[in-house]
Symmetry: D2
Subunit: 303 residues, 4 copies
């Protein structure tokens, strides 16, 4: 496994040239686009890792999984899915037009920005800090790493430049889908800026692969919620490239514009990948290729 991971990193790292780092968030634009790292953790706790697996990066859209789980634990499926749908969209993650043309103030799923903003509005807590802290806390538990915290520079950078997300949030408020724009976005930007490395991601993946039970055997997520979230990873986890990823790679995964991908093989392993050079749809260009190669070599597709 160790050798396989090292060879995959070597093989796919050059493809970084074909992509580029997210530029609309100034802090993310500073990342070194050439990096590529991967870590794999199995249920026995064996860790294999290669490349830039110790480089830290922010969760970005990967946090949509975590906030969805917190909201589901807070309110249950029925209330959450009264406010956000379950359907993939085929549109870019920051798209807005469907909210207008369908005249329904219900984002199609919680993995696009509009849906994730609605989910963040549902997280309970006395303050924005407390609400964000609850998301961070679940990340710590899933990764079994109490030191995980947010990256304040990225948080501020996002907060100050998030025009499109503010457009989405005000549109949603205008439709009655959320109550408070700045508070909701503050929770959202905080969760996006949670900072991890590939090993953290791999442990989080293992927790989902074990239906909510961590490496140390602690249940931190109810089984049905873990299952539900894995399903969203398959149908909408890779933005509007999810369908192709399901066909070519075939494992539950969620990407972020920082270049991270949290993936897993049910019952068998958690996987963390980091490669900040992105393709046009916002996914790690090297990360996707590494995962496709890895999945095909080991026959990991769930299909």
């Amino acid at each position: 496994m160790q050798k396989l991971l090292e060879s995959l990193v070597e093989k796919h790292r050059p493809a970084a040239r074909e992509g580029k780092v997210a530029e609309y968030i100034p802090e993310l634009a500073k990342q070194d686009s050439r990096l590529l790292g991967v870590a794999v953790v199995n249920p026995k706790g064996d860790v294999h890792a290669a490349g830039a697996y110790r480089t830290r990066f922010t969760l970005q859209s990967i946090s949509k999984l975590i906030s969805l789980m917190v909201a589901l634990m807070d309110h249950g499926e029925e209330r959450v899915f009264a406010k956000v749908g379950m359907e993939p969209t085929g549109d870019p993650f920051h798209s807005l037009y469907k909210l207008e043309i369908t005249e329904e103030a219900k984002p199609l799923n919680p993995m696009i920005n509009a849906g994730a903003i609605v989910v963040s509005s549902l997280i309970r807590g006395k303050s924005v800090e407390e609400r964000a802290e609850r998301v961070i806390q679940l990340v710590r538990e899933m990764a079994d790493n109490p030191e995980i915290d947010m990256n304040r520079a990225v948080y501020r950078s996002e907060r100050d430049t998030a025009d499109r997300n503010r457009a989405l949030a005000y549109f949603l408020k205008g439709c009655g889908a959320i109550d408070d724009v700045e508070e909701t976005l503050d929770v959202y930007f905080r969760q996006c800026s949670i900072c991890v490395d590939c090993i953290d991601l791999a442990r989080m993946g293992l927790c989902l692969a074990q239906n909510g039970v961590t490496l140390r055997g602690k249940r931190v997520i109810p089984g049905d919620i873990a299952r539900l979230v894995k399903t969203f990873m398959v149908t909408c986890g890779m933005y509007n490239a999810s369908g192709e990823f399901a066909i070519r790679v075939g494992i539950p995964a969620k990407s972020g514009v920082s270049g991270g991908i949290l993936a897993l093989v049910p019952g068998r392993m958690g996987i963390g990948v980091f490669g900040p050079a992105l393709d046009k749809k916002g996914n790690s260009i090297t990360g996707i290729r590494l995962l496709e190669d890895f999945s095909k070599k080991l026959g990991l597709s769930i299909f």
Copy 2:
């Protein structure tokens, strides 16, 4: 003329029951939906008026004409129309989706909210107050009424509830079409809350009917800009009912969600109407009927 106006007010006032006042701006929701007023001014200065012609109301979208003229005087046609188009849209005034699906950060025309926000961003001045004051000043000059000012309660009400306009403004900022959301919107809300009555509107209409020269003979708008604005009144002045209004009434007109309509007959008269009960597209339901009747009785259509 006096009798005609009085009979038209009597005849069309009952239709107010079929409409309702704008409710998304709390201050506008307080208006008495049953009111209907009209004033007509001719080049000799004769004023005829009937009904609630002395009731004051805010310009709302009628101010889009005025800010467009200020921006054109500040920058010239070429620069303004590099940022906003000249085409009617067929969509509601607060629509956003076309900006996304055409991937062009250029609102189709300056009479829809997105376009008017871009226009407001172009008005010169050292501060928001000064920029808005320049719009108010042109209104005063057109109406020959130095007492015209903004209604601060409506201004604050709009500023605090304008979710959809903020969504538009952040979307436009995200595309690079405007620089500062809150400053631009502040100018925009101020111009929308300029407070007039039917006689003011009629005098403003006369000024346009005389291609920029007021009742007292003062040129306050260059002739080519007055002409250009009258053209927009015909093609996009009545929201996405402009085409029907052109056919049924046939005179340049611009409506606002306060229930006001500024209309004119080139060279012959300025017309101000106020009827706050709106139809589904946001136009005064009684105002449109009164104008259609008036236009047909006197054969005023320019077509």
Copy 3:
């Protein structure tokens, strides 16, 4: 006038290089893109013309005016406008998506293809030939030229290649907006292929400029229908460049993808232009420039 027209043709002909002939209809693609012609007729019958004013071309979208008048004479305003709207759209002439996203089987106006197809379905007659013949007959009467007929090669060429129009027609049939696709399209293609020259167009324009009365003083169109059609020419006559044309030129006009433009100055003159090099929106690139120059030189704008 004669000298003016000749100088305008010379001045604007070179711009043909910036456009190109319609290529999606094979017969139209054969036209010489460098041609430019213009004819003007006044109420006294004086004809001035320059350039390729004797070259024959097909009406294409200009026929939408004629079929609308026939349908209005057949059914009256109320029935026709129950099936097709009065609003400009901002979209390309062959656009379909708004029919789907608004879920209303009512094209926004009769000057886009979808609307014109619905109008063609309303023209009465015992056969397709008779229905088309009624449109041709009105063209003959307006132009006072009994020899006008359709160009069969263009008709067949359109009929055999009209994929997008067939898509529109089947979509409309699926919504219940028309009954028979091939019959309706056959009327539509026949009217599009009516063959005229600039002098014919200018006489047709004069007939509208005189509210339905021909050069020889014969009323061939009711006055209110002529007025209505002139209004559509201003709001939607130049595809999704109508708003700009109203501002820059300011006279009622209707273009076709053959390169023809029928224009008029109310009460004063009819104008026929032919320049087959088209801009991206489907209007004659030389024709628009010539008309803008002509209108500005003579101060013809109705605004």
Copy 4:
């Protein structure tokens, strides 16, 4: 298993009242909306069935799986997916607007009508009959039932009423995505009208559950194609309710507007369901509930 199936049929049959049979195809409108049947086949060949499992119905959209497999065997992945995408859309199956607004003549996936029409155009054969026969032949082999054939009344009914599919096909032809509308649609309507019962569907499902090997052990589909098709079943198999079905049921499935659903549990069983009362998205209302209950009782979700 037998008792379970019988109890599920009894329990869920009454929900048929909440849906209705497809009405836009006259022959389908004749179906008895109260029927509900199910059949399950395991790798040992045990068949369990209940309710209307012997009633015959047409494949409709279920045939999109089969034609995709034939096209993939004819051309390989690369060529097929150059013409049709892999992404779920969130839109209704007969939607067209995205083809226009994205200006890309590539339907988002082969499970929506636009995509399936493109796929049908790729199936090789000397005639329409031969091309359709190849699809039917693969159905026969998967179901191990040489008597399967098309229902000619349904075929003719679809062919004669398919306005929206013709609109899609002409639009696609206009974009260059297909060459011949009527031939392509003829193949498409023929494949849609292939007639089966629940046991046939269950055997076809088992063939996919065994990655392309039939009950009798015959390989009729390459393994990688079977896997690919199962992935599409998960991401886009249940129209724009696929995301919700993945969460609530969690097994690969494909529905048709006849009320049939082909489903499977990888390696374990094939499932055929028939319940012609449809919900608003076009899926069998009783069929979905039965499958959800069945999946939860036996813990079949792949997630």
